[in-house]
């Protein structure tokens, strides 16, 4: 085929284009909604939710996981375009993680003995927290990968990681409606791990899926 012929066909296709921010916003909305339905129907909201939202820790947790999600968004918004890197997002994510890690360590060190510190670290739900966040994040990860594939990522592993971070952050924020844990120590470990699991999965899968 002659290239001019192809160009004619391309010029005839005026399908509207949606820029990456709008597509990613749609992914976040759908992902948050799915996670919310899962929390309501499967995990159930914490019993003291009404009381919890009046306390500071509920919002600290939400702020932390939302910051991780925002970091993923900032990174993928750049990484879904050719010739752009995700540096700004990595900085935001790294800063949030470092802040909570320090707060978690400080809080653990303030406990009277090692048993109390370990108790804080394990909370009541250490065995399910990270996995639950991963599960809540999976639908959004899948939606995100499909959307990003339709864009133009040139670094598939980094783009997959950012997509997973985005999904994990949103999922963990919604998970806060269920999870009654309220120490920095617990959140810094298990929430972070829960958010990093979908990110790692995204990086792994992105290598194969995010090609165009």
């Amino acid at each position: 085929m002659r290239t001019d012929d192809l160009i004619n066909a391309l010029a005839a296709d005026g399908a509207p284009v949606r820029p990456p921010p709008r597509r990613l916003a749609a992914v976040a909305a759908a992902g948050a909604l799915t996670a919310l339905v899962l929390v309501l129907a499967w995990l159930h909201p914490r019993h003291d939710l009404g009381q919890a939202i009046q306390g500071g820790m509920f919002w600290m947790k939400a702020l932390y996981t939302a910051a991780l999600g925002l970091a993923g968004y900032l990174a993928i918004e750049r990484l879904s375009r050719p010739a752009a890197g995700g540096r700004r997002g990595w900085w935001v994510g790294g800063a949030a993680l470092a802040l909570f890690a320090v707060a978690g360590v400080v809080q653990a060190m303030g406990s009277p003995d090692i048993q109390a510190a370990l108790h804080m670290l394990r909370g009541h739900s250490w065995h399910s927290c990270s996995v639950n966040i991963l599960i809540l994040g999976l639908p959004m990860l899948a939606l995100g990968l499909v959307a990003v594939r339709g864009m133009a990522p040139t670094q598939p592993v980094a783009a997959g990681f950012a997509t997973g971070l985005f999904a994990g952050g949103v999922a963990a924020t919604v998970y806060g409606l269920h999870c009654p844990e309220s120490t920095f120590t617990f959140v810094a470990l298990w929430y972070s791990l829960g958010v990093l699991l979908p990110a790692a999965l995204g990086a792994l899968v992105g290598r194969w899926v995010l090609r165009w």
Binding site: I7, A9, L10, A11, G14, A15, P20, R211
Partner: protein, 179 residues
């Protein structure tokens, strides 16, 4: 050379706002640049140059929403071309590295003659008949979408959707052509 960027960017901006002749002119100008770019790097396989030009133009079209119009169009298109070239080598298992290069060189003005691409025809032949006829009508006879749709017995809206799907399928098939 920056003059090319100015012209190219102006045409693409107008094109993205729905000015089809400007869009066509922009893609044609970009096509000549892509041809020169790939020709310089594909001395061993000149037959693949036009295929790559076409695959890249398809990608530029389908991915155009990822261009941030406050940025250089050339830098964006260069990154797409570079990605497609590296992907081509990867598929053909050719071990080549592409040096970091400047966008200025991407715009260098030598203009090899266009040849005829083969992969696209192969990909086109594998499309469902209705899509194939639609693409052929629009590209060869210069029929408008409405006319081409009428010939295929579908509305203009349906023709729009079908053409877009066909182009996406073409891009996917070209990408997998020698995978």
């Amino acid at each position: 050379m920056t003059e090319t960027e100015t012209r190219l960017k102006a045409l693409m901006l107008r094109g993205l706002e729905g000015d089809a002749p400007a869009y066509r002119a922009g893609l044609a100008l970009l096509g000549t640049r892509l041809r020169a770019y790939f020709a310089r790097r594909m001395a061993g396989a000149p037959g693949d140059v036009e295929d790559l030009v076409q695959e890249t133009l398809l990608a530029v079209h389908l991915k155009r929403s990822t261009w941030d119009s406050s940025q250089s169009f050339t830098a964006w298109a260069h990154a797409v071309a570079r990605y497609k070239l590296i992907d081509h080598w990867r598929r053909r298992k050719i071990r080549q590295t592409l040096p970091i290069e400047d966008h200025i060189e991407f715009l260098a003005a030598d203009e090899p003659e266009p040849s005829v691409g083969i992969e696209l025809d192969r990909a086109l032949a594998s499309l469902p008949e209705r899509q194939r006829i639609l693409v052929s009508d629009v590209k060869l006879t210069g029929l408008s979408l409405a006319e081409a749709g009428a010939r295929a017995g579908i509305s203009e809206g349906a023709a729009k959707v079908a053409l877009h799907r066909a182009l996406k399928a073409l891009a996917e098939r070209m990408r997998r052509a020698d995978g």
